[in-house]
Symmetry: C2
Subunit: 267 residues, 2 copies
């Protein structure tokens, strides 16, 4: 199998660092891509960040994250997504990664929550199109359905893309989709619509539903097999390493970064 | 919506108790059904248990569990499943619940693991048919894919039923399927093939991937909606309460039992 395409570093992988530090580290280590989260982007200031990223010659593989349509007041969620689109445009991000939100507080109405997500996406899509920002719908692992994402499978995300049309795509994170018995078929269906490809690994045992992800090779996901599916469907954008991990966040970020580079071979 | 059908008590809900104690409790509380796990059944002795269950007039809604085809040597797994079929027959269980097993130790070959499961089921099916024991394929939540069940969705379970034919069915546990965007369609497809209906609840937050289930009403699952789908597909067997919970196991079983009965109304 041919090697994985170029690395991109999702800033949350090095959570203890500021965005400036992550940009400098990418340059220092020859990592050509970056994907910031909005909190560190806003902390640095969008204009300053855009300039430093541009000066460092980094490709911005995504901005994390828009979505969360089911949280709080609808108007506030839409407004926040508008700001996210503007930020993604300002830093030249390939896409805005959409983490769509779980059940509304106190609700058991899952079909209703999925309607809210669809309506929210439809509402912001014209502005995303105008800004040239692809909305990358990211299905999250079903264990996050209650509190993070009612968008649970790649098939469901592609159904939404079919419905919403131009300006939408999918973010495929191997952690969220590896278990899916329908994965191979849906990855074929995703042809030309993959807007992001994220890697990490599923540890055995997994001790936390959110913050216990492994680096590539630490777990049981056949990452190269899923990457090959993505490449067969036209993906050429390399691999974005996004690790939410209490364990790795407690280590020296410089050591984590060396480990991430070494584990490019497991992607 | 009409009330849920009769209760059945899965013995693991009252883990601190022996099978004898659970049988006595069902009789004492007027709970008409029981579903033993094999460890407590074997600890009591299959013949003695069969007699006491019969004398108490309890319906046996299932035996937990066969499966685990991917764990250890294949021949040993098949042999253990043969014993499970014999035990299910001996206690007059409506079905043998199949928890099929995760990835083999050290493996990342998920399609291969799914082949092992299919082959294992096909191997034991003739004996199950001869014994009149339905193999109830239970899809487990995708978060258990690595270490408990590569059978992850109801659609996948029904595909296996289609392939294997007579003598197979599905066990629907709301905890494992509630998140599935394809659930309504698959529940229609399950018509006449539902062999067990298990209830518990998804807590927010959930702090353990296996042992943090809630009693009905403690969480966010719309249990009556899923029950209605099952009933539309011909299910008349009531609700089996199966709670794996470090929290509830630490309480007085008699108090847990009262709570289970009170929460029948949330099913």
């Amino acid at each position: 199998m041919k090697p994985a395409g170029p690395l991109s570093l999702n800033t949350i992988t090095l959570k203890p660092w500021s965005l400036t530090q992550v940009i400098e580290a990418c340059a220092r280590h020859g990592i050509p891509g970056i994907s910031p989260w909005r909190d560190v982007l806003q902390a640095m200031g969008v204009e300053a960040a855009a300039k430093q990223i541009r000066d460092a010659g980094l490709k911005v593989t995504g901005l994390c994250r828009g979505g969360m349509f089911t949280v709080g007041a609808r108007a506030a969620a839409i407004e926040d997504n508008r700001r996210a689109i503007a930020e993604a445009h300002a830093i030249g991000a390939d896409c805005l990664v959409m983490v769509c939100g779980g059940l509304p507080q106190g609700s058991k109405d899952l079909p209703g929550a999925r309607e809210i997500v669809r309506d929210g996406l439809a509402t912001i899509l014209p502005e995303a199109r105008a800004a040239g920002v692809t909305l990358a719908l990211e299905p999250l692992h079903p264990m996050t359905c209650a509190d993070r994402s009612v968008l649970s499978t790649l098939g469901q995300a592609l159904d939404l893309c079919d419905e919403l049309g131009e300006g939408t795509g999918v973010a495929v994170d191997v952690y969220h989709v590896w278990w899916d018995p329908d994965l191979a078929r849906q990855m074929v269906r995703a042809k030309g619509r993959i807007a992001g490809f994220h890697v990490c690994d599923w540890k055995v045992p997994t001790t936390d539903l959110v913050f216990d992800r492994g680096l590539p090779g630490e777990g049981v996901i056949d990452i190269p097999a899923i990457r090959a599916m993505a490449e067969t469907s036209g993906w050429t954008g390399g691999v974005e390493v996004e690790i939410l991990s209490n364990h790795w966040w407690a280590q020296d970020p410089e050591a984590v970064l060396r480990e991430v580079k070494a584990r490019h071979a497991f992607c």
